[in-house]
């Protein structure tokens, strides 16, 4: 029963923990594939992370859910194996393959033992380059997706997220749920799935990271084996999405004892020079509970929710500041007022030097602690590549956090947080809350 921990802000000057001691090597293969590698031979396995830029945003018009369904079918039969044959082969190698259809990228996460690495890579190669997309598999996975979609239709968190996205992004792919609708998924054909495959699984925009018991030479050979036969280019990437939601409140009636609220407005790009200042300010607004104004005001002082947070969401084609919480119907109106007040206060008065120092100490101290475990490190490295960060970023990142001054942070706070633009989507039976 995980709890979200408490508390008040304050400050003690402390020395910072050690810098992350991660040495990343860039590996180029004979065929020109590039990867970032951390050689860590302590355990006899490798964690491999692959990303293809352009995920479910590449669904073709009218084909919402095609990319998601296609990704669900990659392990459902490849080469001369049907779904059961593929699963048996993977199980026999004790390899694990994860296929994830993200909005901005497709993700493949693999872990395999050193003792049978070549066989595991060969198997994954077949899934990437020779998926069968058989009708029986298509129908089986389609039924699973439809079951998932029907469950979402009565889940207040899903309803809130969908309503927010629709109002904010309209016709852009970000405006609709990327698993699709019952109608769109029902109508998908095998041709649509094959088209989604050709649109997305391509070498242009591929990123690779590996951590574990593998050398640079071995990783180069692995990539040449794994990506042999993938085409160079796919679909064009989408346009930027405009955030179209104005300030206000939208109530979505739903019979449940506790309402769910999602709130937010437009945000800041990852590559913006003000990003770190914004990141620090948001850490104080809605980050870890001991630093967070929202946790302090809504949970700790008033007991109005179990947990509340706010997040910068710098996606590839839109950026926003989003928050979420749940409160019982009788008190959610009060909780919303507290959030609005905090939003106005940080925009008007900014943060204090004490808060800024606490957030800087937290962010710089926690950063080295992230690099723990092969799987975690591989994930971070592939994420850095997707964000376009340099290979030496890890060594400079904390300096960028420390370089933010109070003046800078408060200018960004006043620009970023806009109480008049803040919109709440509330799903439930909130007492005394009306749409406007």
């Amino acid at each position: 029963m995980k709890r979200i921990a408490l508390v008040l802000a304050g400050l003690i000057a402390l020395t910072l923990p050690a810098r992350a001691d991660v040495s990343i090597e860039e590996v180029s293969s004979d065929n020109g594939h590039v990867a970032w590698l951390v050689h860590e031979p302590a355990l006899p396995f490798t964690a491999l992370e692959i990303r293809f830029r352009g995920g479910t945003v590449l669904d073709r018009p009218g084909k919402r859910g095609a990319v998601n369904l296609m990704v669900g079918l990659l392990e459902e039969g490849a080469g001369d194996m049907d779904a059961q044959g593929f699963a048996q082969a993977r199980e026999a190698l004790a390899a694990s393959f994860g296929f994830d259809a993200g909005e901005d990228s497709l993700g493949i996460s693999a872990q395999f033992l050193s003792e049978n690495r070549d066989q595991a890579v060969d198997l994954l190669h077949q899934a990437l380059t020779a998926p069968r997309f058989e009708d029986t598999a298509l129908e089986r996975v389609r039924t699973q997706v439809l079951s998932h979609l029907s469950s979402r239709a009565t889940d207040p968190k899903s309803l809130a997220g969908d309503a927010f996205d629709a109002a904010a992004y309209g016709d852009h792919p970000y405006g609709t749920y990327d698993g699709g609708t019952v109608d769109s998924v029902t109508a998908l054909t095998r041709e649509d799935i094959v088209a989604a495959y050709h649109d997305t699984l391509v070498l242009d925009g591929i990123y690779v990271a590996a951590v574990g018991d593998i050398t640079a030479d071995q990783l180069g050979a692995l990539m040449d084996q794994l990506f042999e036969g993938l085409p160079k280019t796919g679909a064009a990437l989408p346009d930027h999405a405009e955030f179209g939601l104005l300030g206000g409140t939208t109530v979505v009636p739903f019979d449940t004892p506790q309402s769910v609220a999602i709130f937010g407005h437009s945000g800041i790009k990852r590559e913006d020079p003000d990003f770190f200042a914004a990141y620090l300010v948001n850490t104080i607004m809605g980050g870890p509970s001991s630093l967070s104004r929202l946790m302090k005001e809504v949970r700790n002082k008033r007991g109005l929710t179990y947990g509340i947070g706010s997040y910068l969401v710098p996606a590839d084609w839109a950026e926003s500041v989003i928050g979420q919480f749940s409160s019982q119907n009788a008190v959610i109106g009060e909780a919303m007022e507290v959030v609005r007040d905090e939003w106005a206060k940080i925009a008007r008065d900014g943060i204090t030097q004490k808060e800024l120092t606490a957030a800087q100490t937290y962010l710089t101290g926690s950063y080295p602690l992230r690099f723990d475990g092969n799987g975690n490190i591989a994930n971070i490295m592939v994420g850095m590549q997707l964000e376009g960060l340099p290979i030496d970023y890890i060594a400079t990142r904390n300096d960028q956090v420390m370089a933010v001054t109070l003046e800078h942070a408060n200018r960004v706070a006043s620009e970023l947080y806009d109480p008049d633009a803040l919109h709440f989507i509330v799903v439930g039976q909130p007492e005394g809350v009306v749409s406007n």
Partner: protein
């Protein structure tokens, strides 16, 4: 594609005893009875510091359900030496993270910090073993928080309400039938006195296990533990951990839970099952295989192949077994029917497949694959220091020893197909089953 129904199957001052070490794990006991386990992993300069109490929801007195978990929240309030929230604040200032969790069998508190901050963590954690100071204000506000927590995690989730009812049906007498979060009507009345009574009864060094995992040396941990935890006085009359036990189950129990928020109905079946016992883990090891063979991977397991592939009866069929528990645990089966399949027919198909499995036995190739996978999982598991620490903490608060944890991989590799079938025959007794249907309003009648 994996189809997951969220959460359905988750399910002194000196050294009192000589240190023992096997591989990268060491253990010792302080004179005041605190057990210490150290797991070394020097790949990253990080440490996980956990204090586990042998006290969970199933140790609560009647009428105060949820008090173990409520107290867990309250431990982040004021103590004699630190302000409310100071521990979490100091952890964050050091770049770390902290939290706590409560189960039926244990309550645990942890921090994850840079390895050189271990002493600071110990100082603050040791303080709240004995020095909690609770005000009536803390009680009133934090009780609202746990009621919001119940609203969010249970009352808003028909699947969670359903499992709560399933659990209540499975236990007539044993406290495992009472939810960890508590029954709402009892939570509303939890008092300062209730919290302090639980605290004084159970929070003591001789009722706790300290687990430290990461970039540390056992002798350093021992010195720090002696400094910070050593001065805590043990509770002399702790007593044995005895709970009321369940009578033999003589008849299947069936229930149907209807809720308008349900879109996807399903059938859940649980059987009373033995847990891992100290020195006797063979049957539990066989049940781990049984769950994997029957319902691990949808494309290779017995239920998945039959119900998702050979016939399109189910969108998902699975099995689950939680081997670590102080008292008897349960083995779970689930079938999520395909759109036009009635729950009655889905349940009949499940029963048929279990019967056929008991007749036909295990495919030897599948058995070997599962065995290899279980061995490999042990390698992959070494990558996660937090999970390694958790494994020791949960085991040691659930009646197992460090030796049992270290013997577990071998116990798993020693399992034969015949062991699995024997465990299956003992398990699948209809009289020891609880069967539940989760349906929408006006859904199928049982």
């Amino acid at each position: 594609m994996r189809f997951i129904l969220a959460g359905v199957l988750a399910l002194g001052l000196g050294v009192g005893s000589p240190a023992t070490a096997k591989g990268d794990v060491s253990s010792f006991t302080l004179e005041n009875g605190l057990e210490v386990v150290v797991v070394e992993d020097h790949r990253a300069p990080v440490v996980v510091h956990m204090l586990w109490y042998r006290a969970g929801a199933a140790d609560e007195a009647p009428g105060v359900s949820g008090i173990a978990h409520f107290l867990e929240h309250l431990l982040f309030k004021k103590t004699k030496n630190f302000e409310a929230g100071e521990l979490s604040r100091v952890v964050a200032e050091n770049g770390g993270s902290d939290n706590a969790f409560t189960s039926q069998d244990y309550t645990a508190y942890f921090q994850r910090v840079a390895a050189d901050r271990l002493g600071l963590m110990m100082e603050m954690e040791a303080d709240r073993v004995r020095n909690l100071v609770l005000s009536e204000d803390d009680i009133a506000t934090e009780r609202d928080v746990i009621l919001e927590e119940r609203a969010q995690r249970t009352d808003s989730e028909p699947g969670a309400l359903f499992r709560e009812q399933m659990n209540a049906a499975a236990f007539l007498n044993h406290p495992y039938g009472i939810p960890v979060i508590g029954w709402r009507h009892e939570m509303e009345n939890l008092s300062r006195e209730d919290a302090l009574a639980f605290y004084e009864r159970f929070y003591a060094p001789n009722n706790a296990i300290l687990v430290v995992a990461g970039d540390v040396k056992p002798d350093e941990v021992l010195e720090l533990a002696k400094t910070y935890y050593g001065p805590l006085a043990p509770t002399p009359d702790l007593g044995a951990r005895e709970r009321v036990q369940e009578p033999p189950q003589l008849a299947e129990r069936r229930l149907r839970f209807a809720d308008p928020r349900v879109s996807q109905p399903y059938v859940l079946r649980t059987y009373q099952a033995p847990e891992r016992d100290s020195g006797d883990q063979a049957e539990a090891a066989a049940l781990v295989y049984l769950a994997e063979i029957l319902g691990g991977n949808g494309a290779t397991s017995v239920l998945g192949r039959a119900l998702q592939f050979d016939e399109q009866i189910a969108v998902y069929a699975g099995a689950g077994y939680r081997s670590v528990s102080l008292d008897d645990t349960s083995f779970t089966l689930i079938v999520v029917p395909a759109p036009d399949v009635a729950l009655k027919d889905a349940e009949a198909a499940l029963d048929r497949e279990i019967s056929e499995f008991l007749e036909a036995g295990i495919d030897p190739e599948q058995f070997e694959r599962v065995k290899f996978q279980i061995r490999a999982d042990d390698v992959y598991a070494q990558d996660d220091v937090y999970a390694r620490a958790e494994r020791y903490g949960s085991a040691l608060t659930s009646g197992l020893t460090v030796e049992d944890v270290q013997a577990w991989p071998d116990a798993l590799q020693a399992v034969t197909a015949e062991d699995v079938m024997e465990a299956a025959r003992a398990l699948f007794d209809e009289r020891k089953a609880v069967t539940g249907w989760l349906v929408p309003e006006d859904g199928e009648e049982m």
